[in-house]
Symmetry: C2
């Protein structure tokens, strides 16, 4: 069956239930499903159809574990730098997303699959991130959860070495994927009245 | 009806037929549909749910015409800089995308709607472009065509003045939208065998 025909979920359902999934089951993903979400990914727009994006798909347990250890170090390096947090006890209980993200930092090496979206250094994000969003949305339609994360520069050299990445290649993110331990579901966003202006900056939209 | 319920097209069909639509009908878009694709847009992921993205939606004919003139100038400035082309006659007949894009540069001021995705200067693209992709995909599901384009720095100051954009706000793109004069349909992409590596850079995927 074609990848297009596998993705039968209404686009509204996929978009409105694409919650960030940070708690993943270790069960491996069917190769056939990986193919479907990658083929859907590259259908998103990219500048001049030059297709600069490349997906490094990590499935080997040893590589996942090694990347997981680097991710853990990178995540805490960022927390130390930005929030001044050193251990989970420093995270205020109200910071639910950070608490959940800290658990992801512990567990990411157990994910069945991590995708590193890559491209030549200097490639504009508008040629890479639409592919990543299609990938995550198509995965959602297959019941596969994911969350977009980034790596701290502190570990980047080691990530490059781990995956034999050439120096002129840039890693645009780190997307662990797997079946969710929790549920998909709605996400909280500001209203489009707050996020949209009409015709001039600051001029309210009809929904303000 | 909720925006989610309006978006009934299978996500596979939306993704695999999201061709760049550069020839737009001038017919205006229902406000109700604009609401649907904007609400779908902001459901895409963004870093830490800080929601830095803002949509400047241009519907006023006078503003569209003024932006269209700047876009035309910007497009040709880019062609002169990158390809050394000064007029349409300089574009080789084999460069079909550029020929089509040059027509868009002529006609963009007649589009019924242009969205400028914006955010504070320095916002990472990973918090903006997934929103734009959701917007364009949801529009596709409603039969509305779009194409992601960018503006040349040469006209940016005048774009900022035209829309009263504060100096600390960055314009991330320029997305004309409208009903297509042509048809939606498949897009040409390299195979995922060419675009994907497994576990190490250069290591072929199962589809290579």
């Amino acid at each position: 069956m074609s990848s297009q025909d596998r993705l039968t979920m209404p686009v509204g359902e996929a978009m409105f239930t694409q919650r960030s999934i940070r708690r993943l089951r270790p069960d491996s993903l069917p190769l056939e499903d990986i193919r479907v979400f990658l083929e859907a990914a590259v259908k998103a727009p990219n500048g001049g159809n030059a297709q600069p994006g490349r997906f490094l798909v990590v499935t080997e347990r040893k590589q996942l574990k090694a990347l997981g250890a680097l991710y853990h170090e990178a995540w805490w390096a960022k927390r130390k730098e930005i929030q001044g947090w050193h251990t989970r006890a420093d995270i205020p209980p109200t910071e639910k997303t950070y608490l959940s993200a800290s658990r992801l930092a512990d567990e990411i090496g157990d994910a069945p699959l991590i995708v590193l979206p890559c491209a030549k250094r200097g490639t504009p994000g508008n040629s890479v991130f639409p592919w990543v969003q299609n990938m995550m949305l198509a995965a959602r339609a297959l019941g596969i959860g994911s969350v977009f994360t980034t790596l701290h520069p502190q570990v980047m050299e080691r990530v490059m070495a781990l995956f034999a990445l050439p120096q002129d290649v840039e890693v645009f993110g780190c997307v662990p994927m797997g079946y969710p331990r929790g549920k998909f579901g709605p996400t909280a966003r500001k209203s489009i009245g707050e996020l949209t202006y009409f015709n001039r900056w600051g001029q309210p939209s009809p929904w303000a």
